[in-house]
């Protein structure tokens, strides 16, 4: 089972090729913009390193977020076209889960955090299992104070991973059961592990259902003066 994984949910973009969940080649770049410029050369590089052909790919895994939207759409469009071009199925992976799985080494409960900008983060709790993690609640988009309130009521020893540096330092004061750790960003090599399990279960997403997990309504700002004609003509 050969898998191409595409990760563009955060400023760290990465592409990986793996077989049976084992990493064979990977390319990474940290850059807020430029996902479109990065992706194809990175994919090209990974195929060159492995000597594989695009038609060898059995499934394409893509991170559907949450995360800042623009990059995710570039990743999804790239994954969709690749999958359509070779006739492979697509696996949708959550950025929060990718980070949690990378961090799962101890017994602490994990809060995975992705910066959504404008003072908000997407967060989700995970419980460690032997060799993995399991979701332990639903994902939410919260401000710093709201997330602090959630952590205050959490009884467990907790590890916060992801881009917690996006949150104000002051919010962490006095949280004695909370430790902060890595990774800061999700990455494509971890996606391969998730994708291999999903593929084994035939857990694919229909092409028409593949879209970003936005978790937030679109920003709508019309800067025009709101002209109104009410009262002009009866």
């Amino acid at each position: 089972m050969k898998i191409l994984a595409i990760e563009t949910a955060t400023p760290a973009s990465s592409v990986a090729l793996g077989s049976g969940g084992t990493l064979e080649a990977m390319s990474v770049r940290v850059d807020r913009r430029g996902h479109v410029g990065f992706l194809m050369p990175a994919i090209d590089f990974c195929f060159e390193q492995t000597g594989w052909n695009q038609h060898d790919i059995d499934a394409v895994a893509v991170d559907v977020g949450p995360g800042p939207f623009t990059g995710i759409r570039a990743g999804i469009a790239t994954a969709q076209a690749f999958a359509a071009g070779v006739g492979a199925p697509v696996i949708a992976v959550s950025s929060l889960t990718v980070q949690a799985l990378r961090a799962a080494t101890g017994r602490r409960r994990i809060w995975s955090v992705v910066d959504m900008r404008r003072g908000q983060v997407a967060v989700a709790p995970y419980r460690p299992l032997p060799g993995g993690v399991a979701p332990d609640g639903s994902a939410e988009v919260l401000g710093a104070e709201e997330f602090r309130a959630v952590l205050d009521t959490d009884e467990a020893d907790t590890l916060v991973v992801g881009d917690w540096q996006a949150l104000p330092e002051a919010m962490w004061g006095g949280l004695h059961r909370v430790r902060r750790g890595r990774p800061r960003y999700p990455s494509a090599d971890v996606m391969l592990e998730i994708a291999a399990i999903r593929a084994a279960h035939g857990d694919y997403v229909a092409a028409e259902d593949l879209r970003p997990d936005y978790m937030r309504e679109p920003d709508v700002q019309i800067n025009w003066k709101t002209f109104r004609s009410e009262g002009l003509w009866p």
Binding site: G34, H35, V36, G37, F38, L39, M40, P41, I43, D44, Q54, F69, T70, R73, A74, I76, A77, T78, A79, Q80, A81, F82, A84, G85, V86, A207, E208, L210, R211, P212, Y214, P218, D219, V220, Q221, I222, W224, F227, R228, S229, E230, G231, L232, W233
Partner: protein
Amino acid sequence: MTAPLILGIETSCDETGVAVLEGFNVRSFVLASQTEEHARFGGVVPEVAARAHVEAIRPLVHQALASAGVHPDQLDAVAATRGPGLIGALMVGYAFAKSLAWTLGKPLYGIDHMEGHLYAPRLEFEEYRPPAIVLLASGGHSQIIHVREWGDYETLGTTIDDAAGEAFDKLARFLGLGYPGGPVIDAESEHGDPKAVAFPRALRDRPFDFSFSGLKTSVITYLEKAKVDGTLPPRADVAASIQEAIVDVLVEKTFNAVEETGVNAVGGGGGVLANRRLRSRLREEADRRGVDLFIPSIEMCTDNGAMVAAVAVDRLSNGAPPDDWGADVDPSMRLGS
């Protein structure tokens, strides 16, 4: 050499357009318009546009290939708009096109959206060829371009403030007519008197440039005063007078350019070219001067995938180098630079 098969993708603004061309023959033409999604905001919202593109792109590409009866492996090239436009919207189409081209082992051509508009009449008129003056007017652009040769363009005039379509949108909102402004003002004007109110025609001293913000101010000032004075004319008259002011300027400047360059052909593109008054005034003026007019059908004037593929037909035939796999979109791309 047989005519190349080219897939064209356009996602620069609020239409997802995909088409398959065989040379300059349109084999398939599909479009997902987002007009209704943006109508409630009274204008194109970039994030809303990008969300709609990412949902529409794959099914539309599939549909375009299927209705053309073309297997992806048969394509000779993939083309997509690289700019100008909304960055998030451009990224969806360009990333999709790039990945598809790479996976199929075909060349990718990133196309300037404006050059696409310049090529669109070629898909409907065999006689359309340079040298020509082309009026491009939409919600995002207003330009007069001298097409000296395919690939050799000179921008003679441009808007110094609002695009023509933007002026229609804003004034339609002010008149309470809804969105998009061009079509609703066109419809409202049908029974109105275009001479009812003499709104100003701006930039008379600059032969090829446009300005529409003065018109906007003057309409608002006029209406507010007329309301106080109790001399408010019927809305249809105001709409027709606004439309006449915009159309007058577009027609006058286009033919100023014809006179200046001495060319014998006029083309057009962009959503504003769907306006019936503009189309008929261009026709009258072209006939009066004995100039050939090449304004394509409305669906070919508005943004679409066929015009993007059309540019790539020439690129491929001329042996132009395809885009680098590391190329990115260019939201502020400028024709000829």
